[in-house]
């Protein structure tokens, strides 16, 4: 009896250790990044150009580039992803083509981001002659985030009660009128949550923009969608591995890391609040 009890407590303790270990890693990581990164952050750091071979100054062009590219990617991915999800959920039956589409979306979600980078290089940069540019990077990131936009939108549409659709249809609305004026407004918070999460993913990705438009350093802000740009994740990569004196620029790297992390966490927080507000029952 006691051996059984002992075994139970050891087992339970080991599960607790697992949870503690995960939480501890996350806490230590965030603590170290903020301890060394937050003192570097300042309005001036965020809004000035890098100076003296990137050993001083700020990260403004990287902030600008990441913002523009991410927004553009989302503008491309959101309508396309929502349209695809609406078609899958509201129009398509259970045919072979529907299943094929679903399988394609699921598999696209598992394709490594570096493969998207190569695809973007061959199709957008070289094939469509966009050159290494904001536009090519945004298109690549849009394709990367498309599967997750589709998946979250489908999920949001599935949450809309059948009775709402049937009510609208019974009143004589066509399927499109039902979708547009009843289903979509009801599902909007869920859809927005998914779009914001896609935004946060696009902001943090490096591999897809590596060959499609990101630059080591630009003297000016990009003036058109066909210019190269700097981006926060790539800037962090440069500062921590490609710089001629990585130890010297460590504080700048910490500042860049914490800026990127704050941006991503802020977007996740917005998504979290949005979801909690509209699905009080599904609160995590």
């Amino acid at each position: 009896m006691t051996i059984r009890k002992l075994r139970m407590w050891i087992g339970m303790a080991s599960l607790i250790v697992c949870a503690l270990g995960v939480a501890a890693f996350m806490v230590i990581m965030l603590f170290d990044l903020s301890r060394q990164g937050i003192p570097v952050l300042s309005w001036e750091f965020l809004t000035s150009f890098p100076r003296q071979g990137m050993t001083a100054g700020g990260i403004w062009p990287a902030v600008f580039g990441t913002t523009v590219v991410t927004l553009l990617a989302t503008l491309l991915a959101a309508p396309l992803g929502v349209a695809c999800a609406v078609w899958l959920e509201e129009y398509a039956g259970e045919g072979a083509f529907t299943q094929f589409t679903r399988a394609a979306v699921r598999n696209l979600a598992g394709v490594p981001s570096i493969v998207y980078g190569l695809f973007g290089l061959a199709i957008f940069v070289e094939g469509m002659r966009m050159g290494a540019s904001i536009l090519a990077s945004a298109c690549t990131l849009a394709l990367l985030t498309l599967p997750s936009v589709i998946a979250t939108t489908e999920e949001a549409l599935r949450q809309v009660p059948r009775a709402l659709r049937e009510g609208a249809l019974a009143l004589g609305a066509t399927r499109w009128e039902t979708t547009y004026s009843v289903v979509l407004p009801t599902a909007l918070p869920g859809i927005l949550t998914g779009v914001i999460l896609a935004l946060s993913r696009a902001a943090g990705e490096t591999a897809p923009i590596l060959f499609t438009g990101v630059a080591f350093y630009t003297r000016y802000l990009p003036a058109s969608p066909f210019d190269e740009f700097m981006a926060l994740p790539y800037h962090l990569y440069i500062l921590s591995t490609q710089h001629h004196d990585p130890e010297l620029v460590r504080p700048l790297a910490y500042g860049t890391a914490i800026a990127l992390l704050l941006l991503v966490f802020l977007l996740n927080l917005v998504a979290f609040v949005l979801r909690a507000q509209y699905h009080p029952k599904k609160r995590l």
Partner: protein, 295 residues
């Protein structure tokens, strides 16, 4: 008036269907592009040479060689290490969350797990350089901590959110009656967990781990920054390794379009693409079988 309404209905039915083609076209496009470009590489290099343990040295002036054996081993080693860490911890944490933790703790830990999933891979790589690397170097007395183990730890951490959240769903799907029957027979919580709940969700946990592994294999920036990138055949977890993803990331920016080296990198990506596709497909099959049984 009515006909116009029906026209719009038909119009959107057709035009929305077009958007579905984008996903299919992208997937087929990626596959065809990789296949065609790889074909050119295989024509010039030869399949035997490409999949050999010969050195990966495409930039050599006189005799470039293109063996991805060492790179594949690098990917395998880091992924294996990541799985060995993430699988027990992930499943353990899922059990903890769904079976032991009180509600307030669950509500605290779940958002943390979600935030883990949101950390960009380049930030994880940075953590590997400034935190995990020095830690490993001190503990094991190494000159530097940029090795396969470092990559494994970081990849494990990146795979964990996937493993944890899917495992938790799987564990919660186990019917209450199973557990109640076990308690009624006098088993305690640990015995119920390991002999009733665990066997009941075996295949679901397998699917969760496989999806986590799929994510780890394709990860680029983290391993690029944390594993040291030596192209030699890895000797163990303490040796510096270079993965397939890191190779593509490092070299693609510098090769001229249309050279053998250029096509060889696409062939690397094809190998990677096929591996992740296979893993995801297998995980899906496991999950589908599970759903069928549940109905």
């Amino acid at each position: 008036m009515t006909s116009r309404r029906y026209f719009w209905n038909r119009f959107f039915e057709k035009s929305l269907a077009v958007s579905a083609f984008v996903s299919i076209a992208t997937l087929l496009g990626i596959f065809l592009l990789l296949a065609i470009h790889s074909w050119r590489a295989f024509e010039r290099i030869g399949l035997g040479e490409f999949f050999s343990l010969n050195a990966w040295n495409p930039a050599a002036y006189d005799t470039p060689s293109y063996g991805i054996g060492a790179l594949l081993l690098g990917t395998a080693l880091t992924t294996l290490g990541a799985t060995a860490i993430a699988a027990p911890i992930g499943v353990g944490m899922a059990f903890f969350l769904s079976e032991i933790a009180p509600l307030w703790l669950r509500n605290l830990l779940k958002p943390i797990v979600e935030l883990m999933a949101a950390v960009p891979s380049v930030v994880m790589g940075f953590v590997g350089i400034v935190l995990v690397g020095p830690f490993l170097a001190r503990v094991f007395g190494l000159p530097n901590g940029l090795n396969a183990l470092n990559g494994s730890i970081l990849l494990a951490f990146m795979a964990l959110p996937t493993v944890i959240s899917i495992s938790e769903d799987v564990v919660q799907a186990v019917p209450r009656a199973y557990k109640e029957a076990s308690y009624a027979l006098g088993a305690n919580r640990w015995e119920t967990l390991t002999r009733v709940t665990l066997p009941a969700c075996y295949s679901g946990l397998l699917a969760a781990i496989m999806l986590g592994v799929g994510r780890a294999i394709g990860e680029t920036m983290t391993v690029l920054m944390a594993t040291g990138n030596a192209t030699a055949i890895p000797q163990g977890f303490f040796s510096s390794v270079r993965t397939i993803t890191a190779t593509v990331a490092i070299e693609m920016g510098e090769v001229p379009t249309g050279t053998t080296h250029y096509y060889a990198l696409f062939a690397c990506a094809l190998v990677l693409f096929l591996i992740t596709l296979t893993i995801n497909f297998a995980a899906e099959r496991v999950a589908a079988r599970l759903r069928k049984r549940g109905q």
